[in-house]
Symmetry: C2
Subunit: 201 residues, 2 copies
């Protein structure tokens, strides 16, 4: 790992918004806290706006055949079926995963890493409602009770919001725990999910 | 409040990505869990792509003068200075806030609600690093130790990730605690921020 890090986040039609925007916010905030040392880019098959899973339209920064060399690859989940059957995207994931230092996924993005190869023979996390389905594809061990799983240079997380925790772990692993805590401070990442108790209104 | 809810999320050059994508994910997931009953839209001054605070480019669904009637207004934070000096946006916030059932903000979005009026004389939360600055503007009570603050129909949250908690609170208030818990389940919103302890690596 060099002194700077280039993070490439794949996006595609049906990618879930928070799956990639959560890590995007963590990685860009980490870069800001390091005098903008790092680069964080969105990469798609085509340069057109991508319509995400819940309808948000986002513009990619680069296409699959025109992006800077990456240190970290992130593959979000969402509606992944079409991409699992898309050889252009699957081949790109396979080639890119072989070149980067870290391969990561959020939610059902693990299905794309399985299809492309990097998740084969590894311990992975995925969306809790799709664990059996991924296991049935074979050649992969599903860790069911971990929010994210680090197996060598492969880091996979459970659904949607779990990508934030995984991304914080990664920037802490790369730049230190104190740095990760600064990032959490900037994001005020001190979560307080409501309705943990049933109390009189 | 009718049986369906239309959520309008303002975006602008420099709006922070997670400030609005966190609530977007919560509101759209809430709608999905209700057979797509609700509508969630991004609204900007112009129809062009908006470059957010950390560089992500997002397309609005509507412009300020061409959007459906809203039930909930959300104003994100980020680089808000230019918008505080933009009478078109400030006037729109003022008019829209008078028409909706709920007025909400995330992070420094509270500065825009203060400039436009809805936060005047109210108890509000804002980004922890900008609390003194908002207080100094006068006519507002800063609640410093709450992740989000409900004062009448005004709901304001602290920085960035706090918008997720606020949005979950709102869908639970509108549709019930069990519904909010289903939304959290779909988002796997059971956060586990890393590096809470200092332990040997």
């Amino acid at each position: 790992m060099t002194h700077t890090t280039t993070y490439g986040l794949l996006i595609f039609e049906g990618a879930d918004e928070l799956d990639f925007v959560g890590p995007w916010e963590v990685f860009t905030t980490s870069s800001r806290a390091r005098d903008d040392a790092d680069t964080v880019v969105l990469i798609a098959e085509r340069p057109d706006p991508v319509r995400c899973s819940k309808g948000m339209r986002v513009l990619p920064d680069h296409t699959l055949d025109d992006h800077p060399p990456l240190d970290v690859l992130l593959v979000p989940g969402g509606r992944v079926e079409a991409q699992m059957a898309n050889p252009v995207v699957i081949d790109w994931i396979k080639r890119t995963a072989a070149e980067v230092n870290w391969v990561t996924s959020v939610c059902t993005g693990a299905f794309l890493l399985h299809e492309a190869g990097p998740a084969r023979g590894r311990r992975v996390a995925t969306d809790q409602e799709h664990q059996d389905e991924l296991e049935a594809r074979g050649g992969v061990t599903i860790v069911r009770d971990a929010r994210y799983v680090v197996d060598g240079n492969l880091v996979t997380s459970q659904g949607v919001s779990a990508g934030i925790d995984m991304a914080v772990w990664l920037v802490g692993h790369l730049r230190g725990r104190d740095h990760a805590r600064r990032v959490m401070y900037h994001l005020q990442y001190d979560p307080a999910p409501p309705y943990q108790a049933d109390e009189p209104l």
